[in-house]
Structures are given as C-alpha cells and as structure tokens.
Amino acid sequence: MSGAGAILIIGAGPAGTRAAEVLTGHGLRPVVVDEAPASGGQIYRRQPPGFKRSAKLRYGFEARKAEALHACFDSLRERIDYRPDTSVWSIENKVAFTVGPGGVDRIPFESLLLCTGGVDRVLPIPGWTLPGVYTLGGAQIALKAQGCAIGKRVVFLGSGPLLYLVAYQYAHAGGTVAAVLDTARLRDALPVMPGLLAGGLTLAKGLWYQNWLRFNGIVMRRGVRPIAAEGGGRLTGLRYKNAWGRERHIACDALGFGWGVKPECQLAELADCEMAFDALARQWLPECDADGRASAEGVYLAGDGAGVMGADAAEYRGELAALTLLADSGESTGAARRTYLKTRLRRLMRFRIALERALPYPKGLAAALPDDTIICRCEAVTAGDIRQGQTLQPQEINRAKAYTRLGMGRCQGRMCGIAAAEILAHQKGVPLAEVGRLRGQAPIKPLHIGIAGEAAEDDPDRATSI
C-alpha cells in the first residue's frame, strides 16, 4: 500500500480507466464517478444492453482498442468504488458533490484525478438552433450508440479528425451523406507535413477515410465558409461559400458540424486549478506539468480535459497521472514507465500541433457573424447583444455575461463561451487572452431544485453555495 489517501477519479473514459488500472494494481481502491451508464467515455462509448452490432462495426479501426479498454475496466469492477450515471456538480474544499441514481452524495478525497474529457468545439452559424442541426460528436453518438442517422440527407461541416470519420461511418452504415464540407484548405496542411507524419497510423487512417468517401462518390469540398443553416421550423439546407468565394446552397435535412474538441475544465476550475491561455488551441486550459500534476495540491489531470490530444494520448496520460500520484505519495516504482509514457506523449504532441495547424479552427468566422445570429443558444443572446456592450469596463467576458446573460443558461457557456470570447475580442480589438474566460460555477450541470434542497438539508453549510 502507498501513502495515498482517498482517491477520486472523475470520468471513466480512456484516461480514467487506465488511471484506475494503475491504482488498483497498487492495492488502492479509488472511487470512480462517471456520468455515463457504462465506461468507455465518448470515444469508446458502449451501446445499450440488447444492441448486437459488433465492435468492428461500431469502432472500425479502433475496435481492438475499445474492446481492450472495456475489458480492462470490467476487470476492475470489484476493486473500485464505481458510480455510473453520476454527475459531479461541484467541488469544494476537497469534497466532490454528486447527484446520481441514489440522490445526492458527497465524496471527500485526498487526491483527485480529473479525466473529464471534452465536447465538440462548435462555432455558432446563423440557424444553428434549428431542429436538424447537431454537433459532429452528436451525429456520431446517434449512430454509434443508437443505430440512428441524424437525418435522411446529412451534410457534415467543419474540420478536424472527426469530420471524415463520422462521414465515413454514416456512409458505410447506409446513411445518406449529401456532402462533406471542410473549412480547412489543402495548403494549410503542406507546411506542417513533417509533424503530420509523426501521427503515423492515425494520419494514414484519416487519409483512408477521405479516399473511401471520394471513391464512393460522396461530394467533398475544401476551403468552405458556412453562411447559414436554413429552414422554416426545421433544417432544409445549408448556404455556404466555396473555395472561390461563390455562394452555394445544398439541400439537407440534417447537419453535423464542429471543429475538433474542446476540454471540459469546469471541475478543474472548481478544484482551484490555475488556468492558462493556450495560444494554439485559443482556449484556456488548466495548468498541467509534464507528469500530469495540476497547480492545486493533490489534483492530477489526464485525457482531453487537460488539453485535447485524442484517445491514445488519453490512455497514456491516465496511466502517467496515476503513476505520478503514487510517486508523490511515496511509492518508488514506475519511474521508468513514466519516462517511457512521456516520450510517447511528446511524439503525439508533435502530431497534435501539426493537426491543429493543418485543420485550423476558423477563428475569423465567429467575429464575422451577423448581429442577429444567436450565440448563446440557452438564453438567445445574439452576436449584436455581445457587441453592444463593448464600451463597458472592464473589457472582459464575465462582464459581458452580466449584461447579456451570455453563458448564464443551462449549459453554463459550454457551447457559446469560445465563440463569444472571439466576438468580444474582435469587437474591442484586443488579443483573445485579454477578454478572459467564462468562469466555471457550481452547479456545473443543471440540478432539479428538489435535489438542491436535498443537498442543502444534507449539509446546511453548503446551502448558500447552491
């Protein structure tokens, strides 16, 4: 046994699973809280009981990895305190506040491993609240976990590894893909070819999906700029500009769109982790050293929640962070393994940086949105609303939140925060980092008022923070 006290892992995806594996291997019994009913995270999400498709059909090239990860987690079940279907809605003074099937609970911890993953990085476009418009990740979940397509005739838009993968998965499963519209241009990729080659097999798979789509006659366009999702009451088409600046319209009843993944870091914030602006990702990320330590004592970070690097890196980082935690609590094993993992991660980071440049996030899109475009889809705050308050001081996004209700809705700014920051920074003519970020606030997911009452009764001291 090592000297580590109570350990809480939040998230049972690739990072959380590998972290739990390491800790149980050292005789420790971590609590593992996960929002999903089964482990695997979003990337290796499992299908519900009663579904029969093979892993090969659902995960393609990644089937063996997915199955290995699921088998690993299942083998740990007796050695961890596993709490599926459970959300952590706040963290305060080394206590996590949860709500799950059995109601509310509090989990005190000495060490915390945050493996919270990410969500689609979306930029609003006019019409994005219409029924029929989904994130790329959402489109993939409909297929992977429910056996459904998001529409009868689907357009995929954006950039990033998920774009061609999801389009391929839809076409392969028998869905109708009307077009794949990539906002990246081929010339973005050329200068970073050496870095892309560091991706090896991952790069090869990406190219394979594109070739498959091309061979199967799917319409594919690069250098596209979206103008608007259109339709009265529900989606009927997408208007966009092609690479030569000509306006085009394509009929569709569903759109899956997104530009890569953004980390879920609200819990890191609530756990008092310092945040730092990452110029490449144009986002605020929790500070994290090469071994997986956050700035807050006893807090460790792994997986896409600590900066997006993908599923393979998440497995390495989960293992690494758990080994670091053990080392910090006096365990002397694992040094060689940590060195090896960090070497693998450096290589993946080179690929990640090249990918971000080859498939760039179209940062100018948000700043150019028309005033009447809804940015905050929870509260119907428009681009114009955000721009109007620009004379107020300080020039900071939480100030914009106060005067517009931007990011104050149910999603807490998860969907609109990055676009709103781009709009605000552009309007004020300041660098993006200067407008700051929407601060994470408890509860980070909606709580029914009855649940909040229960939590308050459970601990009257907490009532004021709910």
């Binding site: 519900p48 689609d120 459904c148």
Partner: protein
C-alpha cells in the same frame, strides 16, 4: 412507429430487433424500442423536443452527450428529464408542446 416516420428527424438504420416500449408524447402513443434514449424515440417520431422559451421555434437537441442541455423535455406529471441521457421506459408520458 418504432421504425422510420416521414415526419421524423432521425432515421433508424440498424438495431431494429429489440422489444417495443410504448410511451406517450403529447397524449399520443409512440412505439420506441428498449435501449432508445428519449431523444431518439421523440426524434424518430417527429422533429421537436420542446419549444424554446425565448421564441425562435422548436428545439431538437444538439450535442447528444449531456453537455449542451438543449434536450430537456417536460413530463406530463411535472418535472423534466434530459432526453439524450435518459432511456425510455414503459409508461413515460412527455409533453413537447408549450
């Protein structure tokens, strides 16, 4: 209609061999399959989960992974549920109208 409806937003393309479960949506029976989320069941039958409170029409979910909170659906008995992370169960009675 456990299969595909003309009006439906979603299209079921596999996993059709599951037990049927009847739920009620705006008073009408809808046939779902065990393992469908509420979101899937509603969007196979139609193209709406709720009316947006501030006016720009219907909403039909967005992220499908419990992050965007766009898919909260009202229960007839009062209260609400997040449709993308809740599986259908027999006797569920939902409202998608205002």
């Amino acid at each position: 209609m456990s299969g595909n409806s003309e009006r439906g937003q979603f299209v079921r393309i596999s996993e059709t061999e599951r037990p049927e479960i009847i739920i009620h949506v705006d008073g009408e029976p809808v046939t779902a399959l065990a393992g469908d989320t509420v979101l899937t069941a509603l969007l196979l039958a139609g193209a709406r989960l709720r009316d947006f409170e501030f006016g720009d029409g219907a909403r039909a979910g967005f992220c499908l992974m419990g992050a965007c909170q766009d898919c909260w659906v009202r229960l007839e008995e009062g209260g609400s549920l997040r449709a993308c992370t809740t599986y259908v169960r027999a006797g569920l009675r939902l409202r998608t109208d205002s």
